[in-house]
């Protein structure tokens, strides 16, 4: 059995897929008898100039031994945790600083043509190449993430899909008249599109939103849209909910809306499918589309309010379609390794440097 550290970058006061990934990996390593623990440093997105220091802090840590025990392996996850140094470093990449790669030049990046921004981008790209390149095992949480790493940094990796966090507990109930949205509340998740689509969605359909704000002023923006369209009775913010409440919401939803821009992976997609619910995704939703197939197990639409609204109406009007898509998704989950059986494969890959 090995001494293993999972390296996570934590944004205090928020929670998302990264927290789930670190927590479930820790649990599974311990179940398999390893002595595992997490090392997390707080990560701040602002100001971007601080990225260099935050990366360097990880790099400056001595992670080779604690309390007289050698650390056999570290598993890095997302920027900047992979800057950590260790003779046996596995990478299970959640994402890099996306605003210097695939988001560069778009609305979700704040890197301008200020020459200082460009120098920062170059330093981080070259830093990423060096520190990821030294990993003994490189993998990513989706094909999308692994392809980005190859396309931008020329580094190949394996795809290791994170298994469902609550595998075996998802259930399906009769659909009720609401669409469910789950995830952090920030612009790239595009919950606003669903809110703004509601005026063209049948009046009896409501929207329940699970998640906490992760961006300044985002709630004011949402509330403004709700006021503008008189949606007070149709939109409900539930904040963070516990596992049981989440399972219940998934089970009763008509459909699950999950149309972020170029998502890395998206637990929500798979949780919805495991709950027998169709997913409403965008044509540019990235990793989500590795699982959601148009009119097979979900609705894939252009990322605009009209298309999303009409997509919801299709499901509201044709319950048989909603059921068929949901069942198809559930069958996919049952036949894939996304359930708990997938952990052997994930851990086998991440721990492979130990056997070298």
């Amino acid at each position: 059995m090995a001494n293993i550290l999972i390296l996570g970058a934590k944004v205090p006061f928020t929670s998302g897929g990264q927290d789930v990934l670190v927590g479930t990996l820790l649990r599974e390593l311990r179940v398999r008898g390893h002595q595992a623990d997490t090392v997390e440093l707080p990560f701040n997105v602002f100001p971007k100039e601080s990225f260099l220091n935050q990366a360097a802090m990880w790099r400056s840590l001595d992670l080779t031994q604690f309390a007289g025990q050698e650390v056999d392996l570290v598993i890095a996850t997302k920027f900047p945790s992979y800057y950590a140094k260790h003779p046996k470093k596995s990478l299970w990449l959640v994402h890099q600083r996306r605003e210097i790669y695939e988001l560069y030049g778009g609305r979700y990046s704040d890197f301008s043509d200020d020459p200082r921004d460009e120098q920062l981008r170059r330093m981080l790209v070259e830093g990423d190449q060096k520190v990821i390149g030294e990993a003994a095992f490189v993998s990513g949480i989706s094909r999308n993430v692994v392809d980005r790493l190859y396309n931008f940094n020329g580094i190949k990796g394996e795809v290791l899909y994170p298994p469902l966090p609550l595998a075996g507990r998802y259930r399906t109930s009769e659909p009720e008249d609401f669409v469910l949205s789950v995830g952090r509340l920030c612009s790239i998740k595009r919950v606003d599109l669903m809110i703004k689509a509601l005026p063209i969605v049948h009046n009896f359909i409501k929207l329940k939103i699970v998640g906490t704000p992760d961006e300044p002023s985002i709630m004011e923006y949402f509330k403004n849209e709700i006021d503008k369209h008189h949606l007070w009775e149709r939109v409900e913010f539930l904040g963070r909910v516990d596992d049981e409440a989440l399972l219940d919401l998934y089970s009763r939803a008509l459909a699950v809306y999950y149309a972020p821009f170029d998502e890395d992976y998206g637990y929500v997609t798979l949780e919805a499918m495991a709950s027998g619910k169709p997913v409403i995704a965008g044509t540019d939703s990235g990793g989500v589309l590795e699982f959601v197939k148009k009119d097979e197990n979900g609705i894939v639409v252009e990322p605009n309010t009209d298309a999303i609204g009409h997509g919801v109406n299709r499901l509201a009007e044709d319950r048989a379609l909603a059921k068929r898509l949901g069942e198809s998704g559930k069958r996919y989950i049952e036949s894939s390794k996304i359930g708990s059986s997938g952990w052997d494969n994930v851990i086998g890959g991440l721990l492979s440097p130990l056997s070298r």
Binding site: M57, G105, G106, D113, P115, E118, E126
Partner: protein, 443 residues
Amino acid sequence: MSGRLRVAWFSPLSISSTNGDSPAGYFTELALPHLRERFEIELFHGGFEGYRDYPTHHYLKAFSLHRRNPFDIFFYHLEDHPRTNFVRCHLGLIPGVVYFHDYILSTYGPEPMLNSPFPDVVRRFGGEDLPWPDREKSYHREGPYAVREAAFSAISLFSNERNLDEWKRSRPKGIADRYLHNLPGSFYLPYPVDSQLAQRERPGRGIKTVIYCGTPRIEHRAHKVLQAIGQVPNLNFVWLIDRLERERAEAMLGEFSVNRFELVEGRSPIRWGQLLEGADATIHTLFSVYGQCAPYLPMSLMAGIPALVTNFGACEYLPDNIVFKIRPGETEACEIKEVLTALASGAAYFDSELQRSYAIETHERAQVADELAQILEGSASMLSGLQEDWEKFEVSARDALLQEANGLSGEPEAELALGDYFDQSLRPVFEELGWTAGQEGLL
């Protein structure tokens, strides 16, 4: 070393259908085979696909490739279309030669560049004693001109003379002003066209098939064109549209009772070239400061068949005896109808050879490529000086960034604390990763 100048060529490429109607993609397609004999060219675009047998890269990789094997010239194609947003981004990172397919822009461009501090950057690079731009400061785009892009343009090329005039009228202080001395900083560079395009025997008198590639939007005057077409009997009207325009186009055809028509989807120069084979006349109406008729109009001119154009914008610069100029406004539909009627009956005078000789003189592809080659070669020395200074400027930007990174907290006491921590713990890491001030090799 081959001794040839190395060119980093930024353009949308005619790989995917979304770029099929890109004028820049068209130019690249036609000019590169001639230019590759004189230059070592690597292509940069917004995707990861390859393009023919050219070395092709994603544009964000340019800096590392440049460091490994420096480019002599960065050559940018700019269009008024989101597909060239990547070009707009990158020319602010490394200045170069810009080919303005459009200069008056209706699109706002990549969002992070909307707040570009370029006016202050240009002034600082020009030697003014200014601090680095305040990160909280807001900058606003003034007017529809590509002012930011012009500021980063060392040599500006224009695909039509009207845009060149607009540039001369409105151009801001540019990054290359102090390097130009007596060199011209701007050129008119027309679109290349294959001189063998759509050459066939045509009946001497009377036209039967008219082709048109305007959008159904107001600026391409489809409402005027259709009003006229509907009144000229026995004409076959072929309209090259984008797939998304079909519904609107069909509605307009119905509205103006045009019965003999064919809608062809997939607007692109390639498709236009195919349609020219069977065409007897073309219509290129445009009444807007945005957009242009190229490369479709030059292709029509090369085919040597009558072309109707709006007497506005770039078309005003065309000789009167090679095209039929239509005045925009109240009489527009009537004028189009009169010209088409006269052409259909054979009553209109049209000198096909004169039109073709103009097109060959202006647009022949090898000649256009040669003109571009001469401009690039003639500017190489100036660009080299500019690039050298830009790289020094980049080093000073890195120094400023590192100072920011090392003193991030606002409180003086905290800064002292961070200073100690930085020196003891982080500095070795910065050195290991090459994140150090003024280090040669890390641009």
